[in-house]
């Protein structure tokens, strides 16, 4: 679906991404994992086409154009618009005519009761759900989530994961950034570990116990601390 060939990205002489190669296939669910400043968000932006690699390529290997659903770290919402207005606006913009899909998403994410609420009146969790819904309204083939679960309670997390799981099962590809082990283990199939702009490791989620023990030997590193938090 998407192939990264020695992707390097520089900004103001700083190499934020260093020679990353990898392949993302349809139906994958990859978790980009690493400490702050490791280059996860930059790599996600490169996959989304929001940034252009300084060298290397980020290619779509499928025949047709991939539809991308990008959910940014911030609540990228219009403050004075209602939930309904958001859904209508993005539905029109993406020319989404599958009302059944939209209604189902509203149901699963529990947005039905807050359709007429303005964004500024929503709780953090509700706003996160809307942030996700808006990014997925056009049934994207590739879903890119940049810390989409920050600050949500367990019930909200449940709704969001349920919907993402359903989409993944239906063939959507997901690449997510999360520091939440609960989220990672619930949905991810593969983990890509980044540190200082480099892709230092990739493994199936089934090997996470093994990797946890491995990283526990990296005394003093941020990755050891991050893996240590997993129970």
């Amino acid at each position: 679906m998407l192939v990264l060939n020695n992707v390097t990205y520089k900004r103001k002489k700083n190499e934020l991404i260093k020679n990353i190669s990898g392949e993302i296939n349809q139906g994958d669910c990859i978790s980009l994992f690493g400490p702050n400043g490791a280059g996860k968000s930059t790599l996600l932006n490169l996959m989304a086409g929001l940034e252009t690699p300084s060298s290397g390529t980020c290619e779509n290997k499928s025949q047709e154009k991939i539809t991308i659903g990008y959910v940014p770290q911030q609540l990228a919402l219009f403050e004075h618009m209602t939930v309904r207005d958001h859904l209508t606006y993005y539905q029109k913009m993406t020319k989404q005519t599958n009302q059944h899909y939209v209604n189902e998403m509203i149901d699963v994410l529990g947005l039905k009761d807050i359709l007429d609420y303005q964004v500024q009146t929503l709780s953090g969790g509700m706003a996160r759900k809307l942030n996700l819904a808006v990014g997925l309204i056009h049934e994207p083939q590739l879903i890119l989530l940049d810390e989409a679960f920050v600050g949500v309670d367990l019930a909200t997390k449940h709704d969001m994961l349920t919907w993402l799981h359903q989409l993944n099962e239906q063939g959507s590809t997901i690449v997510l950034i999360s520091h939440d082990w609960h989220v990672i283990e619930h949905i991810a199939q593969t983990m890509w570990v980044l540190d200082d702009g480099e892709l230092i490791d990739r493994f199936p989620i089934s090997q996470v116990d093994l990797k946890q023990r491995e990283y526990s030997r990296y005394a003093g590193s941020d990755l050891r601390k991050m893996f240590a938090l997993r129970r």
């Binding site: 932006n45 929001l50 991308i68 940014p72 403050e79 913009m93």
Partner: protein, 333 residues
């Protein structure tokens, strides 16, 4: 339409677009009314002899709303030169006695400026008022026998003289010509303030661009085909429509209240300059990533522009061609 609604239906937007002009109008209206009062013909009556008859006459003349009379003790021709008054009438000594004796000549001296237009109306009004007194005095003189008895024909002819076509009432007439170079009354500088208000609107709306950028809305839309461009165009359309509606409102109010003397081409230039300002600020928002810096730059530019226009309009600075980099000079130069 959803975005347009969310941009416009905000308290601060309504306050900026509707509240501020209303406030300005409320502040300006008393001045407009004052200006309306000033459309009265201002006349000075000078009585160096402080006669009670003149004071009484001025009170009677003041009943007419079209004229604004001031009774003064000394002749001051500078007032004519400055255009403070339309004309000055200097009364002779012993006016009452002369009126009662039926004198109709040289009771007053009429000073007028070469630019005086409607003072003739007051002259007619003054003459008719004095003639009323003169005729009544004459009638009283005849009835009380103060005059020598005459034949019926003589009395008839005497009365008839007041209705003959030649000018009955005559006065000294002097035209005052100023030696001072005429200063053209080009008070177009308020249009620079209108432009400044439109810049304020554009800067206010620029906050959305920064909000959308900081919130990641543009990034989110960038993955859709022309999504980012569409939102930018929506913003431009909203601001452009607001500017045009504001301009139409301004033109309507200006034509109605005659606040600033402007012709159609100046309205056109104001629209052009406003659209250019919109484009500049929009382009600046791409380069300047801090909203506060954008506000600071546009505020400094606007304040300097308006200040320069005022200094040039008030002859404290000489216009130079390079001033045209300040957009308000397009409006007033």
């Amino acid at each position: 339409m959803i975005i347009v609604k969310s941009m416009l239906w905000r308290r601060s937007t309504l306050l900026t677009i509707l509240g501020l002009p209303l406030l300005i109008l409320v502040v300006i209206l008393p001045f407009v009314e004052k200006t309306t009062e000033n459309t009265q013909v201002r006349i000075d009556v000078v009585d160096p002899y402080n006669q009670s008859y003149v004071e009484e006459m001025v009170n009677r003349l003041n009943d007419r709303e079209s004229f604004s009379l001031n009774l003064r003790g000394q002749l001051n021709l500078n007032q004519l030169e400055r255009g403070d008054v339309e004309a000055i009438f200097v009364v002779e000594n012993q006016l009452q006695e002369k009126v009662e004796e039926g004198e109709t000549e040289n009771l007053l001296t009429w000073y007028r400026h070469e630019h005086s237009l409607v003072d003739g109306l007051f002259k007619e009004y003054l003459a008719s008022t004095l003639m009323e007194d003169i005729v009544r005095s004459e009638a009283a003189n005849i009835v009380t026998g103060d005059t020598e008895m005459a034949t019926w024909d003589e009395v008839y002819q005497y009365g008839n003289q007041f209705f003959r076509p030649e000018p009955l009432f005559q006065m000294n007439f002097k035209t005052y010509e100023s030696n001072v170079n005429e200063v053209e009354d080009s008070s177009n500088w308020p249009i620079a303030l209108v432009w400044a208000y439109l810049v304020l609107i554009i800067v206010y709306f620029s906050s959305w661009l920064y909000e959308w950028r900081n919130r990641g809305v543009f990034s989110r839309l960038a993955v859709f085909s022309r999504g980012k461009l569409r939102l930018h165009l929506t913003w431009v359309n909203v601001v452009l429509s607001t500017i045009l509606i504001t301009l139409v409102g301004f033109v309507g109010i200006n034509e109605w209240l005659s606040l600033i003397a402007l012709d159609h081409s100046q309205y056109g230039i104001l629209a052009l300059v406003s659209v250019l300002s919109l484009i500049f600020i929009w382009l600046l928002s791409f380069i300047i990533h801090s909203r506060h810096v954008l506000i600071a730059i546009t505020t400094i530019y606007t304040v300097i522009s308006v200040a320069l226009v005022l200094l040039v309009e008030w002859d404290m600075l000489t216009f130079q061609n390079w001033y045209l980099i300040w957009l308000p000079f397009w409006l007033v130069s």
